[in-house]
C-alpha cells in the first residue's frame, strides 16, 4: 500500500496514454453528452446492455468506453446491472434464436419510458450473419429501435458521438 501511495505522490496524475488532440476530442464530445443528459434526463442516463449473439468485439468496446481514458460515467452514462434500473437498452449482435426470449424479457422488465439502441453492424440487420438459419433478423423488427450505432465494432469515441447526435 505504501508503495502505491508513494508512487502516486511522486508521479502525480499521469495521462500519458492519450495525445492532446485525442484528449480534446473526447472532452468535447463528452462535454456535449454531459450537457444533453443533464437537460433531458436531469442527472444521468442508465443503460442496460444485452448481448444477443455478439462476437465479443462490440462488448469489448463498450467496456473500453468505461475505462479511465473515455470514462463514460463522468459524462453521466451508467451501465446498469439490472434492466429495472435502466432508461435504455443497448443491444449488440445479430439476434440468435436462442436469445430472442431473453431479449424480450429484458425489455419487458424495463420501466417506462424506455428506448432501444442497437450497436454494431450485426445488430442492424444481422450483418454478416444475416442469412443464417439461426438468426432471427433485425432488432428493429422485434423492438422499437430509436438509434443505431454503426461499426464493426464501433470505437468508444463513435459510441459517445452517436449518443450526442441522438440526444440532440
Amino acid at each position: 500500500m505504501i508503495r502505491i501511495l508513494k508512487n502516486r505522490i511522486l508521479k502525480g496524475v499521469l495521462s500519458r496514454q492519450i495525445g492532446p488532440e485525442f484528449s480534446a476530442e473526447i472532452e468535447s464530445a463528452g462535454g456535449q453528452l454531459k450537457a444533453l443528459i443533464r437537460k433531458k434526463f436531469k442527472r444521468s442516463l442508465h443503460i442496460r446492455q444485452v448481448d444477443t449473439g455478439d462476437c465479443a468485439a462490440c462488448l469489448s468496446e463498450i467496456i473500453a468506453a468505461n475505462n479511465p481514458i473515455y470514462d463514460l460515467q463522468r459524462f453521466g452514462v451508467n451501465f446498469a446491472a439490472s434492466p429495472r434500473h435502466a432508461d435504455g437498452l443497448l443491444v449488440t449482435g445479430p439476434v440468435s434464436k436462442n436469445m430472442l426470449a431473453a431479449l424480450k424479457k429484458t425489455y419487458d422488465a424495463m420501466p417506462e419510458p424506455k428506448f432501444v439502441i442497437t450497436c454494431g453492424d450485426c445488430a442492424l440487420d444481422g450483418g454478416i450473419f444475416k442469412d443464417s438459419y439461426y438468426v432471427q433478423g433485425a432488432v428493429k423488427d422485434i423492438l422499437p429501435v430509436v438509434l443505431h450505432i454503426p461499426g464493426c465494432p464501433p470505437s468508444p469515441l463513435v459510441i459517445v458521438k452517436a449518443l450526442v447526435k441522438f440526444l440532440k
Binding site: M1, R3, I4, N7, R16, Q17, Q49, V50, D51, T52, G53, D54, C55, A56, A57, C58, L59, S60, E61, I62, I63, A64, N66, N67, P68, I69, F79, A81, S82, P83, G93, P94, S96, K97, N98, M99, L100, A101, A102, K105, T106, C122, I128, F129, D131, S132, Y133, Y134, V135, C152, P153, S155
Partner: protein, 524 residues
C-alpha cells in the same frame, strides 16, 4: 515420412489394425482412412500413444459425392510435429458410430454436436442433450449441417433437462443468460449446500449463429471476413488458422516477412487480452484501482493495433498469403516505443497486484483444476499450461517462433493464481517476441501468385486462449463445402465446471475470469 511410422506404432498396440488408406497430403498432416468397425479401437490407441485428447471430431455430409456421411477425428502428435486425422465413412441407414465418450471424455461434446447437427447417433454416449440448438426454440429432427437442410421446420418443443443434485439442504442458483455485467450470454446453474458448489451446469449456445453452415457455399475471400467474426476477441487467431488451411490447400508458401507480421499481430492480440483478464481478476475480487490500470494498458495496446493495422481488433488485417499491414521505419519505431511504455506500466500493475496480500490470497488455491482432470477433459491452451500440461502450438509447430527462441510458460498448481501467473509470463514473453521479430521486419511489397486447387486441410494457430483449429474443404467450384471450427473455449468450458467444485459461489466470477472463455467461439 509417409505416415508409415505412425501406422507401425498403432499396430504395436493393436495388431488387428488395418487401414484402408494412409495419405500424407502435407508435411504436418497424416490422414488414416479406416473401417468403422475399428474406429473406436484406433482412436483409443492413438489417444494413449501420442498422447493427445480428441482435438477435433466432426462429420461431413458427402451424400452427394459418395452417398455416405464421413467422420473425421483429429489428434495432435507433438513429438513428431504432425496432426493425425482418422477418418471413416458412415452408411446412410441408421447413421451412427460407436461412441468414444466413455473412454475418451474429450470426444463427448463433439459427439453431441455431431448428433444435433447431422443426426448421426453416437451409440453409447450417455449424454445426448443438444448443445447449441435449444430445445425451447428448435424442434428435434432439424439437422442444420446436412446439405439438404433449408430452414428450421416446426415441431414439438421441449424443455432442457438440467442435471439435478437432490438432498436435504441443497439449493439451486440459476444465473443468466443475461448477466449483471457487460459480458456474453450463458446460463449457469449452481447446486450448492451451504457455501460450496457441489455441481455446476453450464448451458451455452445462446450466441449460436450457425457460422459453420454460413461458411458453406461462400467463396474463400468472403469467408475470411466471417472467420474474424467468430470470436471478436480472437479475430486474428481465427483468421490465421483459416487462411493457413487455405494456404495449405493452394500449396501457397507464405514468405517470411508475412510470418513475422502475423506473429507480431498474434502476440499483440495475446497481450491486450491478457491485460484485460488480469484486470478482470482484480475487478472480481473488488480491487478496482489495478483493474482500471489494466484497462488503460489494454486501451494502449488497442490503440497500438489501430496505428499498426488500422483496426483495434485486428479485423480485416490478415489476407491469403499476406497481410494488410505495411511497415515503415516510423511505424516500427512507434511499435517499439509504445511497447516499452506498455511494459513499464505492466510491470507496475503486476507489482501492485503481487504486493497486495489480500489479492494474492483470493487467487491462491481458488478454482483448482488438477492435472489429471485437465488431461481427462482434454483441456487445451493456457488453462492446460496452468495445470502443468506442456502444450503450446508455438513451441511444437514453431515457424518464426523458433528464430525468436520462444519459451513456453508453465505452472503446476492449476489454480487461479497459476493462470494469473501464466498470463503475466506470457505477456512478458509476447513483449520480448515482438521486439525480437519487429527487428527483422523490412518494408517490402509482397506479391502472391495464387493457383486455385480443391482439397482439404487443417489450419491452426495458438491464440491467446489456446489452439484455434480450422478444418476446411474446398470444392472444385472454389466454394467452401465444409468448415469445422474449434475454438479452445469448446474444450475448456468443461474445465471451468470442474475447477469451481468446492469453491464458494462468490468465487465463481473469479474462477470464470481466470479461464475467460469465449461464448461466441464456443457456440459458433
Amino acid at each position: 515420412m509417409d505416415g508409415a511410422e505412425i501406422i507401425l506404432r498403432i499396430k504395436n498396440k493393436f495388431p488387428e489394425f488395418a487401414a484402408i488408406s494412409v495419405t500424407r497430403k502435407y508435411p504436418d498432416e497424416v490422414c488414416i482412412k479406416i473401417d468403422p468397425a475399428i474406429f473406436k479401437s484406433t482412436c483409443l490407441v492413438l489417444h494413449k500413444i501420442l498422447p493427445s485428447p480428441v482435438m477435433m471430431l466432426f462429420a461431413l455430409d458427402q451424400r452427394a459425392e459418395s452417398g455416405m456421411f464421413a467422420i473425421n477425428c483429429v489428434f495432435v502428435d507433438f513429438k513428431n510435429r504432425q496432426w493425425v486425422i482418422v477418418s471413416m465413412d458412415i452408411p446412410l441407414e441408421n447413421p451412427g458410430f460407436e461412441s468414444l465418450a466413455k473412454s475418451i471424455y474429450s470426444a463427448s461434446l463433439f459427439e453431441r454436436e455431431i448428433r444435433e447437427m447431422f443426426g448421426i447417433e453416437p451409440k453409447g454416449n450417455p449424454d445426448l442433450r443438444r448443445l447449441n440448438l435449444h430445445d425451447e426454440v428448435c424442434p428435434q429432427g432439424n439437422f442444420p449441417l446436412r446439405k439438404d437442410f433449408q430452414k428450421i421446420q416446426p415441431g414439438n418443443l421441449a424443455e432442457y433437462k438440467f442435471a439435478r443434485v437432490e438432498g436435504e439442504g441443497i439449493f439451486e442458483v440459476p444465473v443468466g443468460p443475461v448477466h449483471a455485467g457487460i459480458i456474453g450470454p450463458g446460463h449457469f446453474r449452481f447446486s450448492a449446500a451451504g457455501e460450496p458448489i457441489i455441481n455446476l451446469e453450464s448451458r451455452l449456445g445462446f450466441t449460436h449463429r450457425g457460422v459453420e453452415k454460413l461458411l458453406e457455399g461462400k467463396s474463400w475471400a468472403q469467408a475470411i471476413e466471417l472467420s474474424e467474426c467468430v470470436a471478436g476477441d480472437s479475430a486474428f487467431s481465427h483468421s490465421i488458422a483459416f487462411t493457413q488451411a487455405l494456404e495449405k490447400i493452394f500449396g501457397l508458401t507464405v514468405d517470411i516477412q508475412t510470418n513475422y507480421t502475423r506473429a507480431v499481430c498474434l502476440e499483440l492480440e495475446r497481450m491486450y487480452n491478457h491485460a484485460n483478464d488480469i484486470g478482470g481478476m482484480a475487478t472480481d475480487v473488488g480491487f478496482s484501482f489495478p483493474a482500471a490500470f489494466a484497462s488503460v494498458i489494454k486501451e494502449a495496446i488497442l490503440q497500438l493495433n489501430e496505428r499498426i493495422s488500422g483496426s483495434r481488433y485486428l479485423k480485416k488485417v490478415n489476407r491469403l498469403g499476406t497481410t494488410a499491414v505495411s511497415w515503415d521505419e516510423n511505424k516500427k519505431k512507434h511499435l517499439l516505443d509504445s511497447l516499452k511504455k506498455i511494459k513499464r506500466d505492466f510491470n507496475e500493475l503486476v507489482d501492485i497486484l503481487n504486493f497486495s496480500v489480500s489479492f494474492m490470497d483470493r487467487l491462491d488455491a481458488a478454482g483448482v483444476l488438477r492435472k489429471k482432470t485437465a488431461q481427462d477433459l482434454g483441456i487445451v491452451g493456457l488453462a492446460a499450461r496452468a495445470s502443468g500440461i506442456p502444450t503450446d502450438l508455438r513451441k511444437y509447430f514453431p515457424g518464426v517462433y523458433k528464430e525468436a527462441k520462444f519459451k513456453m510458460a508453465i505452472q503446476e498448481s492449476g489454480d487461479v493464481l497459476a493462470r494469473y501467473r501464466i498470463r503475466i509470463s506470457e505477456f512478458e514473453e509476447s513483449c520480448r517476441l515482438i521486439e525480437e521479430l519487429a527487428g527483422k521486419i523490412v518494408d517490402q511489397e509482397n506479391k502472391i501468385e495464387l493457383k486455385f486447387k480443391e482439397g482439404s486441410g487443417l489450419g491452426y494457430a495458438e491464440g491467446w486462449r489456446g489452439p484455434v483449429l480450422y478444418w476446411v474443404k474446398l470444392g472444385a467450384d472454389g466454394l467452401i463445402q465444409r468448415c469445422k471450427i474449434v475454438d479452445p473455449s469448446f474444450h475448456n468450458w468443461q474445465g471451468l465446471s470442474y475447477a469451481v467444485l468446492g469453491n464458494i459461489i462468490p468465487d465463481f466470477p473469479l474462477c470464470n475470469k481466470s479461464f475467460d472463455l469465449s461464448y461466441p467461439g464456443n457456440d459458433l
